[in-house]
């Protein structure tokens, strides 16, 4: 059962990711990106991370992608002429392909047998809102506070840059 879901989701994710980088129209690109992120969220549920899956949909697919679409439509961006250096494009694909090969070789060489499932069975309630929340506000309290400053910098930075008159 898991295998079927995995294969279907993988195909959707890979296809929509390819479309993100192949589509000429930025709106189509971003819509495919939303599809890719949604199906990744489904995969998170399979990996016992329902909370992160929910966050992924709400924050990533919801907020961030709306921001993307908003900017595209606000600026009324059409397709742009991306002609020019073909050699650069070929180079880009070659670099990415090489990376793919290297990673595949490395992953193959790792001593985890291909069909042993996972190392440990997850503890009860693993990945639920309650559990992740508890960990977040006890062990990972400090990173949480740093993240608040990071977001403060981003909010103020975005306003400073995008507002015409301060």
């Amino acid at each position: 059962m898991e295998a079927i879901f995995f294969i279907i989701l993988s195909i959707i994710i890979i296809f929509s990711s390819m479309m993100v980088i192949l589509k000429k129209n930025p709106i189509a690109s971003v819509l495919f990106l939303i599809l890719a992120l949604f199906s990744t969220a489904a995969m998170y549920v399979m990996l016992m991370a329902p909370f992160i899956a929910a966050i992924q949909i709400i924050v990533y697919a919801g907020a961030i992608m709306v921001l993307f679409l908003f900017v595209i439509m606000l600026l009324n961006l059409k397709k742009i002429n991306e002609g020019g250096a073909v050699t650069l494009k070929i180079l880009g694909v070659i670099v990415a392909g090489l990376m793919m090969v290297v990673t595949a070789v490395v992953l193959r060489s790792v001593a985890i047998p291909a069909d042993s499932g996972f190392l440990r069975s997850s503890p009860e309630g693993f990945g639920t809102v309650e559990n992740v929340g508890m960990t977040l506000f006890t062990t990972y309290l400090l990173p949480f506070e740093i993240a608040s400053f990071l977001l403060l910098a981003a909010i103020i930075g975005a306003v400073v840059l995008a507002k015409k008159k301060l």
Binding site: A111, L152, I156, L161, L166
Partner: protein, 480 residues
Amino acid sequence: MNITYNLPAIGTQLVLGAGVILVLLADLLTGKKNRDVAYQTTLTVLVLAGIICVMKWGSAGAGFGGQVFGDGFASFFNLAFLAIAFLVVFNSPNYLKRNEIDHGEYYMLILIAVLGMTFMSSAGDLLIFFLGLETMSISLYVLAGFHKSRARSNESSLKYLLLGAFFTGFLLYGIALIYGQVGSTNLADITSYLAGSANPLGGYMGVGLALLLVGLLFKMAVVPFHFWSPDVYDGAPTPVTAFMSAAPKAAAFAAALRIFYDPAISLGLPWDKTLWIAAALTITLGNFAALAQSSIKRMLAYSSITHAGYLMIGLAAGNELGASGMLYYLFTYGFMNVGAFTIAWLVNRRGEGNYLLSDFAQLGSRNPVMALLMSIFMLSLTGIPPLAGFFGKLYVFSAGVKAGLIWLVVIAVLNSVVSVFYYLRVMVIMYMREEEGLKDLEKAPTVAITAILCGLVILLLGLFPGPLLDLARESVLSLL
């Protein structure tokens, strides 16, 4: 679940964090016309944080269950970040007013950037390091584009952001693979894994460490990940450039030392070779590109690439002398660079975007004090004794020799000789060249004070390098 938070371990960060909020409120309440309150509050916050940092020097221990360290190493770097930020902020209003970008947010973003750096230097967990790095980077992306009516400033921030986010992807992938191998992102766990493993680079670890290093090398602007830095430095507002060339680089090296420095663990041959080649390329390429520049800002940008290469020797040597030499080097390098950039924008008379070396013509007779200070900075960057720059190089190079990197040190020394040419060219222009139609420099007391302070620090640390080096050595020992 009980964890001891041990708040004194992040005393400096607490002051900075409170300061960010304070500056935000102060600027909001005092209205648009008057930025002085935000300026003064920022300086006060930086001084206060410095006092806390010195008071708690190295005695605070670990906090938040080993996620942060308030050890001597963190204190040393935090003090350096605070000092650089103080000098940059101190002479900023002049520049900001001249370019009509005098907004209170500038000060706040600098404080947040410093906050991020302090977390990088004191991180005991890759999560803290990552968040510190991103906090710093996001503030810097905005600061680089702060002069938004200028296309160059915008271009600088766009390049910085796109490349920075791209390399963040690699860095994060590296952390993910390390986490996958060790099962934890805590540095102590990772170190004990590496020490206990027969094949430390096996599994996901080798690729993970390499990708993490790529992310860090990008922030340090080391060849082949240097290509962003001249453009970003050139386009950014000059005080921001001064800040960017000194502080984030120090933060990246601090994080690299925290993560990779442990003489007990040898990662083996491919690792050493990579650092060796990166260092040699960085030094040579930065040097020869700097030779060709006619803009002082770009020249200093390439020179900062070269200096990152010299610092890489300390990292490649991986011994105690190398690490403490790097600390000494980074501390003094900050003052040289801030001083040089400060004088560069004071002297500049063609407006932003045209920082020509020829602006320095006759500075020797127009303003002898500034010319003298600029000479000190240039000589110190070259590495002429008895200035601080000389001892930084000396320690790092001798660490290289001690670690058997003879050829690398030979390359570095030869390059230092080449660098004499472009550093001294500035002095030649200042004292020898005649040029028509030069105006007197504008009176800018804060700029003069900044430059004099930087000059004094370099002179004093050069004449008496002992105490700072001892401090650096103690700080490195506190790492283990």
